[in-house]
């Protein structure tokens, strides 16, 4: 657990404080699991465990998609909209054109990546803030998805695709394994690849990195495209679980996308991220969601709980940010994503 946090090269070593985040998340997850398993009979049933793990795969991917952008000190509000567009593209290719499933899924991921690359290009080329650009393109992507589909779901998806969302391998849902592939790929990317290290360095201190020759445009296109691709992957897996292509499949993704990485130890100021932490936080969010259902909390109060979690996450970020901030003077007032 000591090396779970991947930091910018400028921050010498993942410190003990960060490592404790992981231990803390494991403990809370375990406590919640044991409590629910003891008090609720159905919690340990095969069916519920399957549901939990299926949900976990989606929440983790959404969180990872946002984490990549946060690591560079930016944000992506268009992640759900890009996901919806990816799912729609893949589904219409499968149903209307008859493209084979793997090819259609690849096309879906590419759609997400292209949505993201467009965001990144506009942000980087014209020196705009990722906040306003992705807020605007979220509206554009959502409108395009709803306009083309006329807000009707796409039914009659090939069984090969729908089975992905329901099959298990040794009791583990296939979607969880597919999500894990993306998580491992991201972890390797940020740890071993030059571009991944450069993105973290940019998030840690954008000025110094730009002076050393890295272009903001490249970083923006890279992080937003990766974010869009991961969001597209999440949307495809969720569509396979649902069994039909919904044009607004990523509608409610904004809150969990920020909650998972922040609770998992990714700093909003950029420069450090944690794939393991994001996944553990996603598990926590999934368990809380399940607990809400089991306890029978009035659905009217669900949104209140979600909001409270996000505000709590802001507190975590503050306490951690203070520890890791050091000489970063701009971080004290500049809100994330408001670049220029």
């Amino acid at each position: 657990m000591t090396t779970m946090l991947t930091s910018a090269p400028t921050i010498a070593r993942p410190n003990a404080r960060h490592a404790r985040t992981g231990g803390w998340l494991v403990a809370v997850n375990l406590a919640l699991f044991v409590w629910l398993a003891v008090t609720q009979d159905a919690y340990l049933s095969d069916r519920n465990i399957q549901t939990l793990l299926s949900n976990l795969s989606i929440v983790a991917l959404i969180g990872l998609a946002q984490m990549v952008v946060i690591a560079a000190g930016e944000l992506n509000l268009a992640l759900g909209a890009a996901g919806s567009l990816s799912a729609l593209a893949a589904c219409s290719l499968m149903v209307n054109v008859g493209v084979p499933v793997p090819l259609a899924m690849a096309a879906g991921v590419v759609t997400g990546a292209m949505c993201g690359a467009f965001n990144g290009y506009v942000i980087g080329q014209f020196g705009l803030s990722s906040f306003i650009v992705t807020l605007a393109t979220a509206s554009v992507f959502t409108g395009v998805a709803l306009g083309f589909s006329e807000a009707q779901p796409i039914t009659g998806l090939p069984t090969g695709f729908v089975d992905l969302g329901h099959e298990t391998v040794f009791g583990v849902p296939r979607t969880l394994l597919l999500a894990a592939i993306a998580a491992v790929a991201l972890a390797v990317f940020f740890r071993k690849c030059g571009l991944g290290r450069q993105i973290l360095a940019y998030g840690g201190n954008s000025e110094a990195t730009e002076l050393s020759g890295l272009r903001r445009l490249d970083v923006m296109v890279a992080v937003q495209a990766i974010s869009g691709a991961v969001a597209g992957w999440a949307a495809l897996l969720l569509t396979a679980q649902i069994g039909q292509g919904q044009p607004d499949v990523g509608r409610d993704w904004l809150l969990p996308s920020f909650a998972a990485p922040i609770i998992g130890g990714t700093l909003l100021a950029g420069g450090s991220l944690s794939v393991t932490g994001t996944c553990l936080a996603a598990l926590l969010l999934t368990q809380v969601g399940s607990a809400i259902v089991f306890i029978g909390l009035d659905p009217f109060w669900v949104q209140f709980v979600q909001g409270t979690i996000i505000v709590a996450a802001a507190f975590f970020d503050r306490t951690r940010g203070r520890a890791g901030r050091r000489a970063r003077s701009s971080a004290e007032t500049t809100p994330m994503g408001v670049g220029a």
């Binding site: 807020l135 605007a136 509206s139 306009g147 009035d298 209140f304 505000v311 970020d317 500049t334 994503g337």
Partner: protein
Amino acid sequence: MTVTDAPNETQSSTADSRPPIVAAALRVELLGVIVPLLLLAAVLAVVTPNFYSAYTMRSIATQAGIFTVVGLAQLTAISIGQMNLALPAMSVSAGMLFGYVIKDAEAPFLVAALLAISCGMMLGAMQGALIGYLHLNPFIVTLGLASLYTGLMLGISRGASFSSFPGAFGEMGANRFIGVPYIAIYALVVTACAYLLFNKTVSGREMLAVGASPRAARFSAISVPRTILKAHACSGVLAALAALIAVADLGTVDTSLGQSWLLPSFAAPVLGGAVLTGGRVSAVGTALGAVLLVMVGTGLVTMGVNQYWYQVGLGVIVLASVLIGRARNRLGEEPAPL
């Protein structure tokens, strides 16, 4: 002078030496919204012959009135270089409180309105305190509070709705003064108040100073946390006012009030020349931006365009306006605000 800049040193010294040039530059800021507005008006006149009917004009004035106040609510948060994603949540909370007090508690209009406005102020002040005094990230706090406030409102109201309001308030939305809907007049009054806030009051100038440079503001003995709190409280008050005006127009309030206000709330100020990093705002520009937005929307509807494509158009307008604003900043050889 309609565009309000932060009282920073370089600006005022330029103003002393070359007032006509500065005045011209400031006028150009508003041209950015006036020119598209005139172009659009001309295009719509040609494309849709009966666009300028009294009915359409009244509907545009009413809608623009609501969007103006929504935009001004966001503008106060933008003035300090932040954002208020909880604006729609504040609006619907204040609107629902108003509906409950005036209908179920049968209180007089004034009591209900004051309660709703104080509700907006409290919600905004709480948000400002979390950001200003506890130094939490503004984006995440307002995102979380948006959900928290909406959840509280849903949990308490349990999805209720209120309609057929008694007395004078019931007619407020429909009444007209020499053909101008009351809604538009309220919006003009609110715009004038916002203009005065940013141009004539110490609090407003302090907000702009904090938006331009929090560090410089601190060195000028401005309490940055208190200014942040004030700006968010103002944003809450304006969000509540927007809710009241919208309720007067609709004649009903339910939990869906303000659901689609977030993007327009940014679009109107940005179209009006506000800089998202803070320190530069225009209340008049925001009102003109709201008119432009509503005219585009109405134009698309009269041409029979699907509402989903309107959503696309709205996003494109916002993108275009930030791009134009960026280009204008570069042309003016101003240093990019950080």
